[in-house]
Symmetry: C2
């Protein structure tokens, strides 16, 4: 297995650090728009090679694949670049993995009721080409989407006879402090992307079809395990809702993000003022996008790890009937402590938790334990070997009846 | 009387429109950094002349005064330019009026407990020079500071024998709608200045001295008259607190601004994110001040008049003992309806209400009813002729026992 890792940002660098401890692959070409960043991440392991890449160019992706005899392209950049990387991998005859799917476009007339272009639509549109070529695009194989989808398949196969709702629930109790120890506002994930996913119309699967709602709909306090506790969660547009119903039978699929009151309020204010906009405005002789300014004034999420404390939880709340036919309500989850990831890997917990899952998936693909062709989500594969290998990596998952 | 009006923005243009109906002056030179803007405001009246001015240059201000034989300089620009205009007027032997005082600087060690450089300190520092030259600087003669200070003098002279608190309270029920009639967030006053005054440490006069508090301190719901109703008010740094105790005996002086929950929340979020900062940040190859970006994405306050509905109220809540020695609690106020100012003057109510007061003051100075030398606040003069003339202008004040 020869891997091209596109993107040496927070998640890409953590991927490189995790993979460095495994022996299932021959090489990883670590490619980034910044060669310096690629070189820094590539320095982790002697099997790694650094390269510069323009991820917006399908031809550049294909050329780099051919140059290095790449068998698997691992996409770890902003989903805005998904299609050129996805198409470039296909053109070069490589398999492909990503952790977020091609972007959505709201419905032009009823954005908060009907779906427009859905997450992943562009990728699923060419699934037939991938299948007939015998090539695999494993989409959405981070932690959410990714591990959450593995949980869905596990629940359907081993825990439930009938599923009412597959409800992904994500929450954390992370706190970032400044040099004086005062708590500061510093998102642990890209603010640009957080604004994108939180202000897009959330999508819900219900009774055989998808529909949308206004942002921040159906607020709910979910009590997260392992000391994280209750966090205010709201509907957010996320890939799980688009992936799970394609392979797992369920009446309803939702994604609720534990933003917490403060973060929800901040996002609402940014939207009220128009500071979420990506359209450039003229400010004293220069032109800037307000959303870029918001991202620029906040600390870089890749740098907050050492000043962050707490745990993050990704999980799936499944309701329905158990194998015995009785009502069942179960939360399958994965909790990571920032202190542990910083000490063990030198990467903060949110990017680390995202990055471990594609490493596990690639190892299963290299073993032939997972195999397939087409554009497939994680729930298209057997969940058990994935969960076992995740535990073997030293990061076990949990289960709790609610 | 020959007036130099420095600034043809929202307040300056409204000043020109109000003064155009009065005959107490010979000419007004309307000067702005933008000659086009000056010409537009000067077109109101045949006695007006337009000029270009750099308000940051004391020499330019003095030269323009000399060129036009100016007797009174009316400062209607951002208070950041106060000192060059104030000094330029003095150099040219003219009297001076402004509607906001020289800026403060927080205490370096205890910004939320002690005052540093206070509003007006730079101007009061040279009060002796103005007095010995027989020249008058009438500072803070807008609506707040301005009319509120006149109310303080009126209360002391005619209503109270002993004053506990002089509490300026400002509130409105203004609503701005977009082209489709949906309510939008659009401040009726400069967002840059609003951030400045709301996030600076609020100042309070108490038992013979000034001290500061954290922003948004001592929230209080004040019930404003004439249908405006209850609005959440908080302490804000404002000139009244620095002016009133110099001339009017009181135990305490405060300024609370009826920002309302939504606006307070917005300001807090901007501060949390660092978007209130005036220091430039680098954003994708350009440098901008975050606060300038916030101001740029919002509608220009000078243009919202036609899409605005509601009333604005400026007033002073006085508590203590009445002339009869019994406990008294009285609100003296001035309410303006945006519909009326737009129809009568073509200017929105907030800038109009600010601008009418210096016109009244200049008319009293031209008559010799008000006279004085030094750096003086509005409370240094007899309030009755001012309030009578304000009423004669068609904009009466009110009084209410609380």
């Amino acid at each position: 297995m020869r891997i091209l890792l596109v993107g040496a940002g927070g998640v890409g660098s953590a991927f490189a650090a995790i993979a460095a401890r495994r022996d299932f692959f021959e090489t990883i070409v670590v490619a980034d728009y910044s060669l310096e960043r690629a070189e820094k991440a590539a320095a982790t392991d002697s099997r790694y090679v650094a390269a510069r890449i323009d991820a917006s160019s399908e031809d550049a992706v294909a050329a780099l694949c051919r140059e290095h005899g790449i068998t698997h392209v691992m996409n770890a950049v902003d989903p805005v670049f998904n299609m050129p990387i996805f198409n470039g991998a296909f053109a070069a005859g490589a398999d492909y993995l990503d952790m977020a799917m091609s972007l959505s476009k709201p419905h032009p007339e009823a954005p908060y009721e009907k779906t427009g272009v859905k997450l992943g639509d562009e990728q699923f549109a060419v699934a037939g080409d991938w299948e007939s070529s015998g090539r695999l695009a494993l989409v959405g194989i981070g932690v959410e989407p990714g591990l959450s989808d593995v949980f869905a398949r596990y629940a359907a196969d081993h825990l439930f006879s009938e599923i009412d709702e597959l409800g992904t629930r994500d929450g954390a109790n992370l706190v970032v402090t400044d040099d004086e120890g005062n708590e500061i506002f510093a998102p642990s994930f890209s603010m640009w992307t957080t604004i994108e996913e939180c202000l897009n119309p959330p999508v819900i699967w219900q009774d055989g079809d998808w529909h949308t709602t206004p942002p921040f709909s159906e607020p709910e306090v979910f009590d997260f395990p392992e000391g994280i506790g209750p966090v205010e969660c709201v509907n957010v547009e996320h890939e799980e809702v688009l992936l799970m119903p394609r392979w797992v039978d369920c009446k309803r699929a939702t994604f609720k993000y534990g933003l917490g009151d403060e973060f929800i309020n901040i996002l609402k204010v940014l939207h009220t003022l128009g500071l979420d906009s990506t359209e450039k405005v003229r400010v004293k002789g220069v032109e800037v996008s307000p959303r870029d300014v918001v991202a620029a004034v906040l600390p870089d999420p890749a740098t907050v790890g050492p000043r962050m404390k707490g745990k993050t939880c990704a999980g799936l709340w499944v309701t329905g009937k158990g194998k015995d036919g009785a009502a069942r309500s179960t939360y399958l989850y994965h909790v990571v402590d920032n202190e542990w990831t910083m000490q063990e890997y030198g990467h903060q917990c949110v990017v680390w938790q995202t990055a471990i899952n594609p490493v596990v998936a690639l190892e299963l693909l290299s073993r032939g334990t997972w195999q397939g062709a087409g554009v497939l989500g994680p729930e298209a594969f057997d969940a058990v070997p994935f969960l076992d290998l995740l535990t073997e990596y030293g990061s076990p998952w949990g289960i709790k009846e609610l």
